[in-house]
């Protein structure tokens, strides 16, 4: 299972990469593998204000729909519109081209509620 070393993680299997005050988020390799072929990503609206761990996205696979939660609170400043036509990017490159949204972070301290790569690896181990 691939895990990006410098990213932070949630228990719901979202990842976030924070540079300055901009957080880019998506779902982890574990999540995309569990979902199977992603067929639809219901993207959030740009400019929307969201709370940390608030549901912002729905990701659908052939057989099921899953709620995705925002790893950080703030304002959504950009969404990955490529996912509208090619949702399979979430399967092919979940930490790269399959990113879902960028959030202008309101309170950087919220990142202490997230797991490091090491902690997330241990968390995944604990699930099995």
């Amino acid at each position: 299972m691939e895990i990006e070393e410098n990213f932070l993680y949630t228990k719901e299997h979202e990842w976030v990469s924070i540079e300055d005050n901009i957080a880019t988020m998506g779902i982890t390799d574990y999540a995309q593998e569990a979902l199977g072929d992603v067929t639809y990503v219901e993207l959030p609206e740009e400019e929307a204000e969201v709370e940390q761990f608030e549901q912002i996205v729905s990701v659908e696979s052939v057989k099921a729909a899953s709620d995705i939660y925002s790893p950080m609170g703030g304002k959504i400043i950009e969404i990955n519109r490529k996912l509208e036509d090619t949702p399979a990017l979430v399967n092919k490159d979940c930490y790269g081209k399959g990113w879902i949204a960028k959030i202008e972070v309101r309170d950087m301290d919220e990142s202490t509620n997230l797991m490091s790569a090491e902690e997330y690896r241990n968390y995944l181990d604990s699930l099995h």
């Binding site: 072929d37 067929t39 639809y40 219901e42 659908e60 052939v62």
Partner: protein, 363 residues
């Protein structure tokens, strides 16, 4: 005890695990959901040929004159005029006219029948047959000694005619006895995918050998139940527990043409006395967003008109597709509907069945 330990295993459970299948509980059975990905397996089935383990399904063997032994009264379809070595789809109902199960009757001899039923219903069905067959019938539940493999896809005939010469002569919904590697098999030209295909019934303990023999043919790939459900929704085939159950009348479920109005059968009075409350309908999402079982269906004015019973993403249409019960005036093709819940509704349009029209089924 966990749920998994109480599941039945087909003869192939360890083979599926060794092949890397993702396993899942289905109808009380431990079954392969997928081997690689549902989209890849869909593509392979529609274009080439796939092998499914369907050993979980039930087989009942009945000997007796259809009318004298009570069999004719149990099933809704006409069976007394069935030519030998043909199959016929139908259902069996309770006294209230609800569907106990849908089934296929195979006529093996003038007084020799095989009934194929759904895995989750084997026990209750066997009970129903035992209760309603009389002393002129011999009944055997052979579900746990009869395995079933489905070979489905446009190239299925080319593969199977090498292993079981003569299968290429089978017409749609007919069957015969064959041998694969010297093992006796009943093979019918039937299936649940909308593609040209065969169902192979063989002895439980020989199933592994037949599975491996078919897979040595390098055009055949194993396929899971995940894609089987997508294929059947694309064809608008009903699935027990979704479009059919004991509270649903066969008329509501669109089974009209599988009911013989000229004969007596259990549930007949109730069915004709009860006007259908709603009717089955089919709709295509305006986007890739897919309806899911349990979603509500709304008309253009926002009034609730029904409920989704099955929904999936259709790789053929590159859109969501759904089956559901809806009010009778709203089920005509072209009518705009919405699916979802009060907070979140997505647009769709009612369509004619089947969603997938290019299958090799009758080729």
């Amino acid at each position: 005890m966990s749920v998994e330990t109480s599941l039945h295993n087909t003869p192939l459970a360890d083979v599926h695990v060794a092949l890397g299948a993702k396993m899942v509980g289905f109808g009380g059975w431990n079954m392969p959901l997928q081997y690689e990905s549902i989209l890849a397996e869909w593509d392979y089935n529609r274009k080439t040929v796939s092998l499914f383990d369907c050993s979980h399904m039930g087989e009942f063997m009945i000997k007796g004159d259809a009318k004298a032994c009570g069999l004719d009264r149990i099933v809704t379809q006409t069976i007394v005029d069935m030519p030998l070595k043909t199959c016929r789809y139908g259902a069996m109902l309770n006294e209230d006219g609800g569907v106990i199960d849908d089934l296929i009757v195979y006529r093996k001899g003038p007084e020799d029948w095989m009934i194929v039923v759904n895995a989750s219903n084997i026990e209750k069905n066997a009970k129903h047959f035992r209760a309603h067959l009389n002393s002129h019938a011999q009944f055997e539940d052979a579900s746990f000694k009869t395995a079933k493999l489905d070979l489905q896809g446009p190239q299925s005939r080319d593969v199977l005619k090498v292993l079981a010469p003569g299968v290429e002569k089978l017409d749609y919904y007919t069957f015969d006895q064959f041998q694969i590697n010297g093992i006796p098999c009943l093979i019918s030209r039937t299936g649940y995918t909308g593609e040209l295909g065969f169902e192979i019934y063989c002895p439980w303990e020989k199933c592994k050998e037949i599975w491996k023999t078919i897979l040595t043919h390098d055009t055949v790939k194993p396929t899971g139940l995940g894609v089987r459900d997508v294929l059947r929704v694309e064809m608008c085939y009903s699935l027990y527990g979704h479009e059919l159950d004991e509270t649903i009348s066969p008329l509501e479920a669109g089974l009209d043409k599988f009911i013989d109005g000229q004969k007596e059968f259990i549930g007949r009075q109730a069915v004709s006395a009860r006007p259908p409350r709603h009717t089955i309908g089919y709709f295509i999402s305006a986007s890739r967003k897919s309806p899911r079982a349990g979603n509500k269906i709304y008309d253009a004015a926002g009034h609730e008109i029904g409920m989704v019973t099955s929904g999936t993403f259709s790789p053929a249409l590159q859109a969501g597709i759904g089956i559901g019960f809806m009010s009778r005036h709203s089920k005509d093709a072209g009518v705009e509907v919405f699916f979802g819940d009060e907070k979140n509704k997505a647009a769709a349009v009612v369509a004619k069945r089947p969603f997938y029209k290019n299958g090799s089924l009758k080729s």
